[in-house]
Each structure stands twice: as structure tokens, then as C-alpha cells.
């Protein structure tokens, strides 16, 4: 009986469980539908404004568009044409050089952030001014620096005045100096955002850790490299990803106002070539092909940075 009773008890319990799970399954199904409904607007926006334009861009890159006449499908012809176009090769080489300056983009804001954080002499001045360049529109920055970097501009006048005449070069006219000048101006314009990013990360470091390192006799560089850097690694990773993609797609307004890609094509980056090819030469298909290649180029660099950041994050969790 007892067994029978147990069995009937079990049967009752099983039935309750089944109905409980059924009810729960129904609830979880409902939750799933509601969740899907919440995601739907976002999904629509991603499809409408990211995915579809991307597909259209890929399609356009496979068309031959001569001026405003009707386009013709030519498969990968535009990509093949790119391989034989010395200007395209040069612009991607320039992009690679700009990417090589990434360590400066990462370290310079970090150094300034740490100097402000540890209240080094003059920190109040830097705290109130570091973000200022970022608030100036890049096109205005370009116009400002075009005057300052001219052969007889402010920078060279100062260099000559302080006896550094040999450094008063034609900043925007040399085949190498022009690209480096452009990159430096971009760095000046954007590094405030980096300092802000790093300062927000530094504020999460307990002050006693810094104090302890100082008591142990750690100097600035040792504290920076062995204490601060490991503690804010995820934020450094975030800034690196931002810069890796940013240096390749942030430059347009600066190039436009500063050099127009010249002299010759010495400051021409792929994004400016896309603009030139599409709007000035009216070759939309070829412009789209260069744009797609730039997209892949940026995706590779950003992907590598994200992958590195992910591995670093996993390492930190362990």
C-alpha cells in the first residue's frame, strides 16, 4: 500500500511537475516572443542601415559605371583594375604607414592621462585643456594647420626664432613629411578622447595601489608599465580597437581641408580616393570597389585588435 501510496504520490508529483514545466515552457516561449519583439526594431535598423547598404555597396563594386550612363555588371573587373592601379596601391601603402603610428596613438594619451592622474606639475592646466582639440571640428583643424604648417607659417617662424632653422621644413610639401604631418594633426585632434578614456579607467584604480608602488620606490615609467598598464588593460584594448579603425576612416575632413591628398598623392588615403573616384571622376563602381577593400582592410586590423583584447580579457579573468 505504502508503495502504492508512494507510487500515487509520485504520480501526483510527476503530474504537478509536468504541468509546472509545461507552464514554464509556455512562459519561456512567451518570454522568447516578447524578447524577440524587443529586439525586432534594433534588428530592423541593423538590416536597413548596415546590412542592406553593405550588400548594395558590394553589388555596386561589381558594376562598371562610366559617368552617368547605365551601369553594366562586370563581376570582379573593378577589383582586378585596382590591382593594376598604382594610385590605389600607394593609398593603401599610406594607410599601412598610418596604422604603423598606432603605438603613438595608444601611448601618448596614456602618458598624459597618468600625468594628470598623479597630479604632476601643471596637471590643472592639462586637465582643463586636453579635451579642447577634440571639440574643434576636424575641417576647422585642417584649415588652422594649413596656415600653421605653411613654409612661412607659425610653426616654422617659431623654429627659426629659437634657432632651429634646420627643422623649419616644408611640412605639407614633402613626400614623407606631408603624410606624417597629416597624421600628427589627426593625433592632435583626437588624442583628447584617448586621455578621457584612460582617465575614466584610471579612476577605477585604488589609490593605495599607486601609493604602495610609490613607497616601494617605483618611478613614473615603472609605475606606468608594471602597475597602471596591467590594471587598465581592457581599456587600452578598447582604445586600440577604436584607433585601429579610426585612423583609417577619421582622416577625410583633415585631408580635405589640409592637403586634398597632395602634393601629388602623397597624403591620399583610401577613404579620400573613394570620394575622389566616386564624386569627382563619377566612377561609382570603382569607388565602391576601393571602399569595399578599405572595409576589409579596416575589418582585419580591428578584428586582430578585438581578438587580442578578447584573449587578454580571458587571461585577466583566470
Amino acid at each position: 500500500m505504502a508503495r502504492k501510496g508512494n507510487t500515487s504520490m509520485n504520480t501526483v508529483q510527476d503530474g504537478a511537475l509536468v504541468s509546472f514545466f509545461r507552464r514554464n515552457t509556455a512562459i519561456s516561449k512567451l518570454h522568447r516572443y516578447v524578447g524577440f519583439l524587443f529586439v525586432l526594431p534594433g534588428l530592423f535598423l541593423v538590416l536597413e542601415f548596415k546590412f542592406i547598404p553593405l550588400i548594395k555597396g558590394i553589388w555596386l563594386s561589381m558594376l562598371e559605371t562610366r559617368g552617368f550612363s547605365d551601369p553594366k555588371f562586370t563581376g570582379l573587373h573593378n577589383y582586378d583594375r585596382m590591382l593594376h592601379d598604382p594610385t590605389v596601391r600607394k593609398t593603401f601603402f599610406h594607410a599601412f604607414i598610418v596604422v604603423c603610428t598606432l603605438p603613438v596613438w595608444i601611448l601618448l594619451p596614456l602618458i598624459l592621462a597618468v600625468l594628470i592622474f598623479q597630479k604632476s606639475p601643471g596637471w590643472k592646466f592639462f586637465r582643463s585643456t586636453y579635451f579642447l582639440p577634440y571639440t574643434i571640428a576636424p575641417i576647422v583643424v585642417g584649415i588652422m594647420f594649413r596656415q600653421m604648417l605653411a613654409p612661412n607659417g607659425a610653426l616654422n617662424s617659431i623654429l627659426r626664432a629659437v634657432g632651429l632653422k634646420r627643422f623649419a621644413i616644408a611640412w605639407l610639401n614633402g613626400p614623407t613629411s606631408s603624410l606624417l604631418s597629416l597624421t600628427s594633426v589627426a593625433l592632435w585632434s583626437f588624442f583628447g578622447l584617448g586621455v578621457l578614456t584612460y582617465l575614466s579607467a584610471l579612476s577605477s584604480i585604488p589609490l593605495d595601489v599607486i601609493e604602495a608602488s610609490r613607497l616601494d620606490g617605483a618611478g613614473f615609467w615603472r609605475m606606468l608599465l608594471q602597475i597602471v598598464l596591467p590594471l587598465i588593460k581592457p581599456m587600452v584594448g578598447y582604445w586600440t580597437v577604436l584607433c585601429a579603425s579610426g585612423v583609417l576612416v577619421w582622416m577625410f575632413p583633415l585631408i580635405y581641408a589640409l592637403t586634398q591628398g597632395g602634393p601629388g598623392v602623397s597624403t591620399m588615403l583610401p577613404e579620400f580616393l573613394v570620394f575622389l573616384t566616386t564624386f569627382q571622376f563619377l566612377d561609382r563602381g570603382y569607388g565602391a570597389a576601393i571602399g569595399m577593400t578599405l572595409f576589409v582592410f579596416v575589418a582585419i586590423f580591428s578584428g586582430l585588435s578585438v581578438r587580442y583584447m578578447y584573449h587578454e580579457g580571458k587571461g585577466a579573468e583566470k
Partner: protein, 436 residues
């Protein structure tokens, strides 16, 4: 029963009567409304508003007064951003009813976006000094895609004060390139720049190239350039590039010429009284009026660019071209109203406003030029424009125009030879869809 029927009849009749009265009133009101205010057609006009805002406000008001059933809505875009805005309209085959483009190749490249002029609108062209730049191959017997109203072209302005300071006669500016070189030496000795020049953008192709090219080309050569049948390796074309290189290599220009633009930088250099000469245009931006305001009308002179070969057939000619051409878009649903506006643009009323508000050169022969302001430079321009030739700058494709300025930058900086520049120009020609 009868009473009931009568009552029913009254009950049914009342609403019917009320409905009829209301309907009649509505009909009268709507009828009188449509009689008082006929249907207004709105046309959208895309352009960069050459001249000034007052001129465009005046001409639109005058057009609307003459055509009360048409309302004009202007979409004005800065000149250097124009192709970025116009391009998407053309590719999507939607947007404005009337658009502007520079006469010549720029317009021909975009002809699929325009409707050829019908005979009655084309007839308005007969009152113009020229409108061939709006017609295929600069030939008025072929299809024309719009009508212009202003005359445009290149002259060299000079600052009489700087010339006087350098011991030169301000009333006898240099007419040959060798005289120009001598003048530059004297001017540089006073600490001023001789020739204000900017090499970025497309200005070198439009403002400088034609003035050197006139020394070597004939009009037949220019038509070959338009057709893409004049290779850059041709000795005449090589000589033009050498002539341009000579301008910068002789040290007559500002040192930052390769990294600045003619507009606004080099024009500012001239306006601020730091340079003796500047090669720009007769109308629109940076003309005699703006320079006159900055330097004083009495101190400003205008002349043809000094000739390298004074015996060349076109050496003393003015590189002239119709200003912006206005045409009706292929997708416009208001073509009748849009063509009325195009006809208006070319008309004498608009020409008179152009003269009065802007002090510009109007193309309409019926325009009263006595309204032109009194300026020595403008008087000199009147004499110069009387002997026109084709403007070879607008016959270059955008690929050629871009390669010309980039190559010139590098030649000026000693980073490229004229031979390499020639090869670069030839590649640009081969990559020009409009010429192949």
C-alpha cells in the same frame, strides 16, 4: 395617409434641400477659390547661386511676378560641394526640376540627366552672345541641354600700388612673359610676391592651364582635346606643361603654392595686398568687384595673361565660356514650368538684374550695360572679352583636371619631371570615360 405622406415628404425633403444648398455653397466657394488662386506649380532649382544672394532673390521674385502660377524653390549648394549633392540626384534620377552645371564637358558628362531644349526655348539662345557651351561639341546645330545667362573667363588682375612701388608703370602692365619675368624681379625686390598661385583642387586646370595653352593651340586643337583625340604626348601639349612648370620654377609665385588652393588662399594673398598679380575670373567669386573692394577700385587693373609667344594665333584672345548653364532634368514632372524658368534665365530681364546686382557680364545682347558700375578694371575687362576664343580648361575631363594640378604640385616641388607629368596626363586621358 395623405398627411403622413406629406409629412414624410417634408421629412425627406428638408435634408435634401439642405444638402443641395450646402453643396451649391461649396461649389460656389471652391469655384471662386479656384478662380481667385489658380493652381500653383512649384519647381525646385539646384545651383550654386553664382553672383550674390540679392541677385537670386530679385530674379526669383521677378520671375514669379511674371509667372504667378509658378513658384521657384532654390536649393543652393556651395560650388566646391556641388558635385557631391548633384551626383546622388542624377544617379537616383530624382530631385530638382532645373539644375545648373558649368558649360562644356561638365555639362556634356551629365547630359543623360537633362532634356534637350525644345525649339521654342532654344530660340531664346538667339539673343545671347553665345550658348555653344551648352550644346554637344560646342556646336549649336547639335542638341543643347540648357541656357546660360552670364559670361565667364580668365583674366589676370594686378595691384597698381605694388607695381608703382617696384618702379613699374601701373598703366602699362607686362604683355609678354619675358616682360613679366623682369617685372617679377623688381616686385620681389620690394618684398612682395609677384604671382599669387594655389595649386590644389581643380583651379589650375580652369584658371591657369588655358592661359598658357592659348600660346600653342588653335581652336581646331581645342576641339580635338574635347574629343579626346589630342594626346598629351603631342609636342604642343608638352609645351603647355613646360610653360606651367616655368611659372613655378622661376620663383615668381608664393612658396606655399603647391599646398594651398587658389580659392580662398591665393586670392586672399592678392586681396590683402601681398601679391602683385593673380590670375582668376571675370565674374562670380574673386572678380574685379571683390578685389576692388579690398584694394580700392583705382588700385586694381585687369589684363590678359602675358603671352609666351605673342605671334600665336590665340595669344591675344580671351578664354571665354558661358557661365553656369541651366537645364531641365529628365525626371522633372513640371517640364513646362521648368522650361519657362530656363527661358527666363537667358532673358533680358534676368540679364539686367545680373548687371545691376552683381556687375557681371551678361550674355543677352538686349541688356543695358550702362548700369555697370564704374571701375577701371571692369572697363579693361569689357575690352578684353570683345575678342573671345574657346576656353580649353572646361574641355578637360575631371581625371585630366585632377592629374594636372597634382602633377604641377610635384613638378613645382621638384618631385617629378615634366616628362613624368606628361605620362601621368596621358594616363588620365585614357582613364576618362567621357573621352574614350
Amino acid at each position: 395617409m395623405k398627411r403622413e405622406k406629406q409629412y414624410r415628404g417634408k421629412r425627406l425633403g428638408l435634408p435634401v434641400i439642405v444638402t443641395l444648398i450646402v453643396s451649391a455653397m461649396l461649389a460656389v466657394v471652391s469655384g471662386s477659390y479656384s478662380f481667385a488662386a489658380p493652381k500653383v506649380t512649384t519647381i525646385k532649382v539646384l545651383g550654386w547661386a553664382p553672383g550674390n544672394a540679392k541677385f537670386w532673390a530679385d530674379t526669383v521674385a521677378a520671375f514669379q511676378k511674371a509667372n504667378p502660377s509658378i513658384k521657384v524653390k532654390l536649393e543652393t549648394v556651395p560650388f566646391d560641394k556641388y558635385s557631391e549633392v548633384q551626383g546622388p540626384y542624377i544617379t537616383s534620377k530624382s530631385g530638382p526640376d532645373v539644375m545648373a552645371n558649368n558649360a562644356g564637358l561638365e555639362l556634356f558628362d551629365r547630359r543623360s540627366a537633362y532634356v534637350p531644349l525644345p525649339a521654342d526655348v532654344r530660340a531664346a539662345g538667339k539673343d545671347l552672345l553665345t550658348y555653344s557651351g551648352a550644346c554637344l561639341g560646342f556646336d549649336v546645330t547639335q542638341k543643347c541641354y540648357g541656357l546660360p545667362f552670364s559670361y565667364q573667363g580668365n583674366v589676370m588682375y594686378y595691384n597698381k600700388l605694388i607695381l608703382s612701388k617696384a618702379g613699374l608703370d601701373p598703366n602699362k602692365p607686362p604683355t609678354t612673359m619675358s616682360e613679366f619675368g623682369t617685372a617679377c624681379k623688381a616686385i620681389e625686390a620690394t618684398g612682395s610676391t609677384c604671382l599669387a598661385l594655389g595649386l590644389t583642387g581643380v583651379f589650375p586646370a580652369y584658371w591657369d592651364f588655358p592661359e598658357i595653352a592659348r600660346n600653342y593651340l588653335t581652336e581646331a586643337d581645342m576641339r580635338k582635346i574635347l574629343a579626346g583625340k589630342m594626346p598629351w604626348t603631342d609636342p604642343k601639349m608638352v609645351k603647355i606643361l613646360q610653360g606651367l612648370a616655368m611659372l613655378t620654377n622661376s620663383g615668381w609665385t608664393n612658396t606655399n603654392a603647391p599646398s594651398i588652393s587658389m580659392l580662398p588662399d591665393a586670392a586672399d594673398l592678392f586681396s590683402s595686398g601681398k601679391a602683385a598679380f593673380a590670375g582668376t575670373i571675370i565674374s562670380d567669386a574673386v572678380n574685379w568687384q571683390s578685389f576692388g573692394k579690398a584694394l580700392g577700385d583705382a588700385n586694381l587693373g585687369a589684363m590678359l595673361w602675358p603671352s609666351i609667344d605673342p605671334s600665336a594665333p590665340l595669344a591675344k584672345k580671351f578664354s571665354g565660356i558661358e557661365g553656369s548653364v541651366y537645364g531641365v532634368t529628365a525626371w522633372s514632372k513640371q517640364k513646362v514650368a521648368a522650361f519657362k524658368f530656363v527661358k527666363w534665365i537667358a532673358g533680358a530681364t534676368n540679364g539686367n538684374l545680373w548687371v545691376k546686382d552683381v556687375g557681371g557680364q551678361a550674355l543677352n545682347k538686349k541688356v543695358d550695360k550702362s548700369a555697370l558700375p564704374n571701375s577701371p578694371a571692369l572697363s579693361q575687362i569689357q575690352k578684353i572679352v570683345a575678342h573671345p576664343t574657346l576656353h580649353v580648361g572646361v574641355l578637360l575631363s575631371s581625371q585630366e583636371a585632377d592629374a594636372l594640378s597634382r602633377g604641377w604640385q610635384q613638378v613645382a616641388l621638384g618631385q617629378m619631371t615634366v616628362a613624368d607629368w606628361t605620362a601621368q596626363m596621358q594616363t588620365a586621358l585614357q582613364n576618362s570615360p567621357s573621352k574614350n
